[in-house]
């Protein structure tokens, strides 16, 4: 499908979130780190939606609460304290995080607020122990220029990261609070981005500025983009948690396609003459149709004594199985809703029920029970009655929305660039002041001081890289744009590795590794630096670097020295090398005698073939030449 994005009225706004590389968390002195393994501390909580003065509560939140959702939090003492457990009021706002955010704001010409007010944004899914996220606007009205176009930056905010979900069992959801309260900067653009490619470029440019502060974290999960995507006639869809920049354009293209296809379904339903009130919440028990079924899912339900309920979706025949984007059909969207509101494992529908081992006779029986014709679709759910009813209610709700087009909702990005239903879009902003943190004035003197010491802009930095380290322009910019660029100086200044080699490794080599599927982002900056140190001190060779990085990406707890050992990449000592060369010469006595100095190439090749990565080529070459010379003299 070739899409003219200006014709369909695509509008995208970005919210770029990046973790800051601070010593402490945003509101306490804990280390902003994650932990692995079993938690030392667990505790159970329930979150109760607060009523607003208007008597409203977030319907999704209230629903979860009514269902009796409990949250089991996991913690360890190094990465969280009573603050993250919501057992102690927040300490003062981390001044280091504030300074990084202000610095970023000034770099993009935004105007800092005169006084920072920390707010509570109500989030009740358990990802925050308090039931709200602490967040504050630091500056407003900046702008960046991308390919000559001015992109306004509406807000620059500082907020706490959320706890990370580690599982769910029945009514209990598990969250780990190590990530909670890690400082995050949020950069929000105006919705003035009109193509998927442009969105990626804008995100890239924002990332470039953030990295220029050299105070942001690197690696998987440290950067997350939220996208607000809309097309004319479609709906504003908030897509959360795109972790890779390279995925942004793909996610947007998929979302546009999804909305276009949903609009096509709407048009088809209208053409079929469907009226909203024809979709009825009449849920029929169809268990009797499946008493001897061979469908595994239904068989299991019957065995457990759960009812099988069905609902007719009039005039929907063939539409539930229609693919919106790869792997996502209207039926999938209904299933996602059913899972969310009804806690069921999934749904079956007449467009694809045959593949689940349901026979024609059984389908006919169901159609008869719900009074459906060939024009209609039927959705079936087998679960505890209460859940099944909630699930079917969600299905009919989604069916009614299909008649209107694209429902407004919050979706989550999948790693393959598709998205899935997350929750309904929250109503009006639910923010109120965090009264436990006093307002923080930003004085003119402070802003002036920060302005005088702003980090180099990307263009200034590349100039310096070229001048001081003799890099060419292309490499300098590649380094600037690489998320590993800021390791360059550390490596060059603390090792004797040649700058060009370091730059090429951090950019081209790493890029090639990523292309081959190596998750380089799983290797920490310190470890990358250490790898160069090992090469520099001749513990291993530079040819071994790609192999070591690949190994480290799969062994996140291990150190570079372990990689060298495990891979057998320890350098061969000069003495060992010498005896190997002696032996080789002895074995090939005749050949050498025949060819003399010309045998060099053969010998060199033989050693390098066998020991690449464990010997320095220069040393091998020097040694062989010397040995050949000695031999000649003697001979």
């Amino acid at each position: 499908m070739n899409i003219d994005y200006s014709k369909i009225g695509l509008k995208v706004g970005l919210e770029c979130h990046q973790q800051l590389d601070t010593q402490e968390k945003l509101f306490c002195a804990c280390k902003p780190q994650l932990f692995k393994g079993e938690p030392e501390i667990t505790f159970l909580r329930r979150l109760r939606p607060t009523q607003s003065e208007l008597g409203q509560t977030d319907p999704a939140a209230f629903f979860e609460f009514k269902k009796g959702i409990k949250i089991l939090y996991e913690a360890n003492s190094e990465t969280s304290c009573l603050v993250e457990m919501d057992e102690e009021p927040p300490h003062q706002l981390n001044p280091e995080a504030l300074e990084i955010t202000l610095t970023t704001a000034l770099m993009i010409g935004a105007r800092p607020v005169d006084e920072v007010h920390v707010m509570r944004k109500v989030v009740i899914d358990g990802s925050n122990t308090t039931g709200f996220q602490r967040t504050c606007v630091i500056a407003l009205n900046g702008a960046i220029t991308v390919n000559g176009k001015r992109v306004p930056i509406e807000h620059i905010s500082l907020e706490e990261d959320a706890a990370r979900k580690t599982g769910a069992e029945g009514l209990t959801v598990r969250y780990r609070i190590d990530r909670l309260c890690v400082p995050l900067i949020e950069v929000t653009t105006a919705p003035v981005i009109y193509t998927p490619e442009e969105a990626e470029k804008v995100a890239f440019a924002i990332g470039r500025i953030l990295r220029a502060t050299r105070k942001v974290k690197r690696g998987l999960g440290t950067i997350r983009q939220d996208l607000n995507v809309s097309i004319t006639d479609g709906a504003l869809i908030e897509i959360k948690g795109v972790q890779e920049l390279e995925l942004i354009s793909k996610v947007i293209r998929h979302e546009v396609k999804r909305q276009i296809n949903l609009l096509k379904i709407r048009d088809e339903l209208m053409a079929r003459g469907l009226k909203e009130d024809e979709i009825k919440n009449e849920f029929v028990d169809v268990t009797s149709a499946f008493t001897n079924t061979n469908c595994k899912i239904l068989k299991k339900a019957v065995k457990r004594g759960n009812p099988i309920l069905a609902v007719k979706l009039p005039k929907f025949a063939g539409l539930l199985g229609k693919e919106l984007i790869p792997g996502l059909r209207l039926g999938t969207e209904m299933a996602d809703r059913a899972k969310f509101w009804g806690r069921v494992g999934g749904i079956l529908h007449t467009d694809e029920i045959a593949s689940y081992g349901v026979t024609e006779d059984e389908i006919d029986a169901v159609r008869k029970l719900v009074k459906a014709t060939d024009q209609d679709a039927v959705v079936i759910v087998a679960d505890v009655k209460e859940n099944a009813l909630d699930a079917l209610e969600a299905v009919t709700e989604r069916a009614r929305e299909a008649l209107k087009g694209v429902p407004e909702e919050t979706r989550a990005a999948n790693p393959d660039g598709t998205t899935r239903y997350m929750r309904p879009r929250p109503g009006a902003a639910r923010m109120y002041p965090e009264t436990d943190v006093p307002p923080i004035p930003i004085t003119d003197e402070y802003v002036k001081q920060l302005r005088s010491q702003l980090p180099e802009l990307p263009s200034q930095r590349t100039q310096k890289l070229m001048k001081r380290y003799g890099l060419n322009k292309k490499l300098a910019w590649q380094l600037q744009d690489s998320e590993y660029g800021d390791l360059f100086e550390t490596i060059v200044e603390t090792t004797n590795m040649p700058p060009n080699f370091v730059a090429a490794t951090l950019t081209e080599t790493f890029k090639a590794l990523k292309r081959d599927g190596v998750e380089v982002s799983r290797v920490t900056g310190e470890r990358i630096v250490e790898v160069f140190r090992l090469v520099s001190s001749e513990k291993t060779s530079k040819e071994a670097i790609p192999e070591i990085i690949t190994w480290l990406s799969k062994h996140e707890d291990a150190e570079p020295a372990d990689a060298v050992k495990a891979l057998g990449l320890t350098m061969i000592s000069p003495a060992e090398l010498e005896s190997m060369i002696d032996e080789l010469i002895k074995k090939n006595e005749r050949l050498i005698n025949e060819r003399g100095a010309k045998a060099f190439g053969f010998l060199m090749g033989a050693i390098m073939r066998e020991h690449r990565g464990k010997v320095k080529a220069e040393l091998v070459s020097r040694m062989i030449r010397q040995k050949l010379l000695e031999k000649q003299r003697k001979g």
Partner: protein, 453 residues
């Protein structure tokens, strides 16, 4: 401070008054080259007088400094939200009648997201709509007795509270819940334990360690536990109902004379000291944890003794303490002194003369321990034996705060010092136990795997 401009003062207030703005109005602020628009928000009491606070379109609040170059204009008046509480859930018939008396510290509230204001729920209907679980447990009456931070409460408030409880019990309440700020809830619990003698029904104090406007507040869970206790518990004593652990699971009842706030901020800050909690509410069911309690009985007639004598002080001893501190109390006409001594019940010998003088003047001097946990024993060391010989009364395993309240109450009932001394060492409301028992830890299934407290 202006009522329409809460929190604003000085220059900021002046500027806002000039344009007749009030909180909730839509304002435009021009400053140098920038213009901001938003809703005027109340200012924190801690804030300075140089900034105004507005809520911008995205929902965020920002502070804008008022300078000579700042121009503020009112561009609209927001309509006040007319609040219609959702209909209360259907009340189950034949539920026990429970009265909830509020002394301060709100237990349920709504947030006005426009201005950030938090408004307490006042009527029973309001409470039902916010904590709908209550309508399954009891038929509730509510009264706002005071709205006082608990550190501002005095023995006069204890007396008022005792009288209010007596009134509602006389009116047929089958249990009374008192919502209370947590800081001094232990003192009030002790005071009511003495002032309300021969109780026919339970009196349950309850508070919250996390403010009620946040989704994670412990207020509702504690309140539900307290109302279950008031409606169903077979005991008729003054107890405190709070979280047992940091999990939102079990609520335990602590005897009013044995309970102390032992943490500044945790949900499970309240612990029973030198004994075990008397009951636990888990999954909406109340289970008694002891057989030793005064039983509920409709036939019992409440004896109200609400008088407290405030001429009693609690003096904490510390190394090098100047004996003049004790002398001061003698001069000031105090009738009783509770000492919080070290270890088994000691103070430095330098203080002996002053203590002797106090006793000679007819002041009751009694000893508790600053260890919090354990029993005083003044026979083990010479220092203790000498103090006892002087007339200092050892108070067994009584909490220092409970001892203070008890002596205030005794001296409110009698001026006969011999009788008073006798009462002080007689167990009246479970404040003294003869046996020191090892505390029973909460069941493993609910204790968080937590090394704290």
């Amino acid at each position: 401070m202006s009522e329409k401009l809460p929190g604003y003062k000085g220059k900021a207030l002046e500027t806002l008054l000039k344009i007749k703005a009030e909180v909730g109005d839509l304002v435009r602020v021009k400053k140098e080259r920038v213009t901001y628009e938003g809703i005027l928000i109340p200012r924190s009491e801690l804030g300075d007088d140089k900034h105004i606070v507005i809520k911008i379109k995205s929902g965020y609040n920002i502070g804008i400094k008022v300078t000579s170059k700042t121009v503020i204009e009112k561009i609209g008046t927001m309509t006040k939200p007319s609040f219609k509480p959702p209909p209360p859930p259907e009340q189950k018939p034949n539920l026990p009648r429970v009265t909830i008396i509020s002394t301060g510290g709100t237990i349920a509230s709504r947030v006005d997201y426009r201005t950030g204001a938090v408004r307490p729920a006042i009527s029973a209907n309001d409470l039902y709509s916010i904590v709908p679980e209550l309508s399954d447990i009891a038929a509730i009456d509510t009264e706002i007795l005071f709205s006082v931070f608990s550190e501002d409460l005095t023995p006069k408030h204890w007396a008022e509270t005792a009288k209010a409880v007596a009134k509602y019990i006389a009116n047929g309440a089958q249990g009374v819940v008192i919502t209370h700020g947590t800081d001094t809830m232990g003192y009030t619990a002790a005071a009511l334990s003495f002032a309300l003698q021969n109780l026919p029904v339970p009196v349950v104090l309850v508070g919250a360690q996390r403010s009620e406007d946040r989704p994670s507040s412990d207020a509702a869970t504690n309140l539900i536990g307290a109302v279950i206790a008031a409606a169903q518990a077979p005991l008729a004593e003054v107890v405190v109902a709070m979280h047992e652990t940091v999990s939102d699971e079990a609520i335990v009842l602590h005897r009013g004379t044995k309970v102390r706030k032992l943490h500044t901020s945790r949900r499970d800050a309240f612990k029973t000291v030198n004994a075990n909690p008397v009951a636990r509410v888990l999954d909406r069911k109340l289970v008694m944890l002891t057989d030793e309690y005064k039983p509920r009985s409709a036939g019992k007639k409440l004896v109200l003794k609400p008088d407290f004598n405030e001429k009693v002080a609690l003096v904490k001893f510390y190394p090098g303490m100047n004996p003049n501190l004790i002398e001061w109390h003698i001069e000031a006409g105090y009738k009783g002194l509770i000492l919080e001594g070290t270890g088994l019940g000691h103070v430095r010998r330098e203080c002996f003369a002053a203590i002797k003088k106090a006793i000679d003047k007819g002041i009751i001097v009694a000893m508790t321990s600053q260890c919090i946990w354990g029993r005083v024993n003044m026979n083990v060391y010479t220092n203790g034996r000498d103090l006892t010989a002087m007339g200092v009364i050892p108070l067994e395993d009584m909490l220092a705060e409970t001892a203070l309240v008890k002596l205030m109450w005794i001296l409110g009932q009698t001026s006969d010092m011999e009788k008073a001394k006798k009462l002080l060492t007689t167990n009246i409301s479970g404040e003294i136990s003869a046996r020191s028992v090892e505390p029973i830890p909460p069941p493993k299934t609910l204790a968080p795997n937590d090394r704290g407290a």
